[in-house]
């Protein structure tokens, strides 16, 4: 019907509230959505919602960051759309640091969810995006990746690894017209942070999604959201290590 095929957006970790808000913005623009995650019943419900909000197509697909066998089918479905391909990565997991301290084996899962899983997926997807000469990768990291802290340094380390990976990917894909945006949200009002102590200046998932959308349009490289986290993290990064190691922030 339309002259140009609609853009396909792969949404990894689509059942999170931030991903849902972002996918809804894309749905209202008529994008073709591939909603990938582990909870298929939930993803199907979400796909229906996206179609009724204007998505030209919305499909629920299995994606498990810890199971690379689930990666290729998602990429195949993206290529089947025939249009530009973009991907937004919202996966990640954050067990409490104390839980990891008690069971160090959990580190592998955290790193797979927040770093190696999505990195391997993007590595597989990259050639298809290069071939099309366009599209955007939105990689959601965290301000926690900017400096290792007492409270969540395993999660932070995984997100730091992902951020470094995204910077390299940007370096590579930028040459072919593919844009890579690294997003570093501060505290967002999601199921992950619900009821946690010490939260402040909490942003809604809708506000974060809208800021991602604007950053994609402006082809920004790194987005701190809400914006003031750029300054908060600048200060935190500037604290000298001899002092920082004694702090509990």
């Amino acid at each position: 019907m339309s002259e140009t095929r609609s853009e396909t957006w792969i949404i990894l970790g689509a059942t999170s509230s931030m991903a849902r808000a972002f996918a809804r913005l894309k749905a209202e623009q008529g994008a073709r959505l591939l909603l990938a995650g582990r909870d298929m019943a939930e993803l199907r419900r979400l796909a229906g919602d996206m179609r009724l909000r204007g998505a030209s197509e919305a499909e629920a697909l299995t994606f498990d960051a810890r199971n690379p066998a689930t990666f290729a089918p998602v990429i195949e479905r993206a290529e089947a759309g025939g249009g530009m391909i973009s991907a937004a990565i919202f996966v990640g997991s954050m067990p409490e640091q104390a839980v990891i301290d008690a069971d160090p084996a959990l580190i592998e899962g955290v790193v797979a969810d927040s770093f190696t899983g999505p990195a391997r997926f993007l590595q597989m997807l990259a050639p298809a995006m290069e071939a099309r000469g366009g599209g955007t990768v939105v990689g959601v990291g965290s301000v926690a990746g900017d400096r290792g802290r007492l409270g969540n340094y395993v999660y932070g380390a995984a997100k730091a690894g992902f951020a470094t990976y995204l910077s390299g990917l940007r370096n590579r894909l930028g040459r072919e017209g593919v844009h890579v945006l690294t997003v570093k949200p501060g505290f967002v009002d999601t199921a992950m942070t619900w009821g946690l102590e010490g939260m402040f200046l909490v942003a809604s998932p809708e506000a974060v999604a809208a800021s991602i959308e604007r950053a994609v349009a402006k082809r920004k490289n790194t987005l701190y959201t809400p914006f003031f986290w750029r300054w908060i993290m600048l200060i935190i990064r500037l604290i000298p290590e001899p002092l920082f190691k004694r702090l509990s922030i």
């Binding site: 059942t15 999170s16 509230s17 909870d39 019943a41 939930e42 419900r45 979400l46 229906g48 919602d49 009724l52 909000r53 999601t190 199921a191 619900w194 009821g195």
Partner: protein, 437 residues
């Protein structure tokens, strides 16, 4: 599921609660919460009173369960999860030619909330209440899933519409939308110089959407003056207006002191020329005028405010005039005062609407407000009228039961649906509503 220990309040902020709150984002998470501890479900807490509160207990915030489940573009039938906001439904579907048939004064009310209070809108005189356009509702009673409609599980359906969430957690509902040619409303504004003229204008109006703003500070010959707004949907298509402004902090108490309100009201009244005017306004602006200011309840300061809303039968217009005169004398009302006609339409046993006239006003929570509202309640009762359970924060159980003759039947159905009374709220406890005797 993680619980959050928190302080929370209804929209009026004068009543608040402390307790545990869950906010499931997935259906599976909601089921896990209910398996652990059944608790009343709440939405955006746009009820002014203690209807969405459970002091010391738990509540389930449903706002993240807001998916659209199906839409029949031929019949205008929309099925969605309870957490979706009614203004969001309007925003998404008006450009496609459909609008919720009944929309309350705020678009931030959730689908579940609209059902639990069987809300009414500016078209009540012709469209009836929200629940009359609900085709079916799905409830979770503990781990049991039950559906009800006007033809299946009829009793449960009538107990659920306006049922204050006492028959089970409202999970989703299917509602009938109304055809909508554009995204604008053609609004005719006329001045009413006094009470009699206002009532005459209301009685004469044939418009589909009608609402009156009344100057609650005007006394003497001008008592009851105000502006009548009559709207009809227009075929004009314009982009939906963008987000709202915020109220950054609680206003100081002098912001709504009597001389300020008097000045504001006089200016607001004169803004409409004596001969009236006609203009086109976006649907959102006409139906949800206050949503343009996010958190406007903070304008009433830290102590919050009461809203008094009653409806009296058509023959009791003099009693309503006496209520209005009593308010004008008190000089305690805020600028937000609404007078409307109401038709007989109601969907549930505990629904507020009855044929007649309804008056709604805000009173900042300050000295004398409670005593005044109690007097007004008594006057409404004597006129054979009724108080709205989305608003009332001060009545006693005896008064409310006298106003809601089907209460006994309702309480009996709730008892079967929720025998452990796990869904009780501060409101139902204050008024003893779940008592079947």
């Amino acid at each position: 599921m993680r619980w959050k220990e928190t302080d929370y309040a209804g929209w009026g902020r004068v009543l608040s609660a402390h307790g545990r709150m869950a906010r499931p984002e997935k259906l599976a998470a909601l089921k896990a919460v209910l398996a652990e501890a059944p608790a009343p479900a709440i939405g955006n807490r746009r009820s002014y009173n203690d209807a969405p509160l459970n002091s010391g207990g738990a509540v389930i915030d449903m706002t993240r369960l807001d998916r659209i489940l199906s839409f029949d573009a031929q019949e205008g039938l929309l099925e969605a999860e309870a957490g979706i906001e009614i203004g969001e439904v309007a925003r998404l579907f008006a450009p496609r030619g459909w609008l919720p048939t009944v929309m309350p004064g705020t678009g931030r009310a959730t689908l579940g909330g609209c059902i639990a209070q069987d809300v009414h809108g500016k078209s009540h005189h012709q469209d009836g209440s929200f629940g009359q356009h609900v085709e079916s509702v799905t409830l979770l009673q503990g781990e049991r899933r039950v559906s009800a409609s006007p033809t299946r599980n009829k009793g449960l359906f009538r107990a659920t519409m306006g049922g204050l969430g006492q028959t089970g957690v409202i999970l989703s509902a299917k509602i009938r939308l109304t055809p909508c040619p554009g995204t604008m409303v053609r609004v005719t504004e006329s001045r009413a110089e006094n009470w009699d003229e206002f009532i005459a204008l209301l009685d004469r109006s044939t418009a589909p959407y009608v609402v009156g703003w009344i100057d609650a500070t005007a006394r003497g010959a001008a008592m009851g003056r105000g502006i009548l707004e009559e709207g009809e949907l227009s075929p004009t298509l314009e982009p939906w207006p963008k987000g709202a402004r915020r109220v950054p902090l609680d206003a100081p108490s002098f912001a709504l002191a009597s001389p300020v309100v008097k000045l504001f009201n006089a200016a607001y009244y004169k803004r409409v020329p004596a001969e009236g005017r006609v203009r086109e306004r976006p649907i959102a602006d006409f139906f949800f005028p206050l949503d343009k200011i996010h958190d406007w309840n903070r304008l009433y300061g830290k102590r919050g405010f009461y809203q008094f809303q009653c409806v009296v039968p058509p023959g009791e217009v003099e009693a309503l005039r006496a209520i209005m005169a009593r308010i004008a004398e008190s000089a305690m009302a805020s600028p937000l005062a609404v007078l409307k006609r109401m038709g007989p339409g109601r969907a549930g046993l505990m629904s507020f609407p009855m044929e007649g006239y309804t008056l709604a006003l805000d009173f900042p929570a300050r000295k004398g407000a409670e005593a005044l509202i109690r007097t007004l309640q008594q006057m409404a009762l004597e006129a054979g009228g009724r108080l709205y359970l989305a608003k009332d924060a001060l009545a006693d159980g005896e008064t409310i039961r006298a106003m809601y003759p089907e209460h006994g039947e309702w309480a009996a159905i709730c008892e079967r649906a929720d025998p452990a009374r796990a869904l009780e709220t501060d409101l139902t406890r204050r008024l003893g509503l779940r008592s079947t005797t």
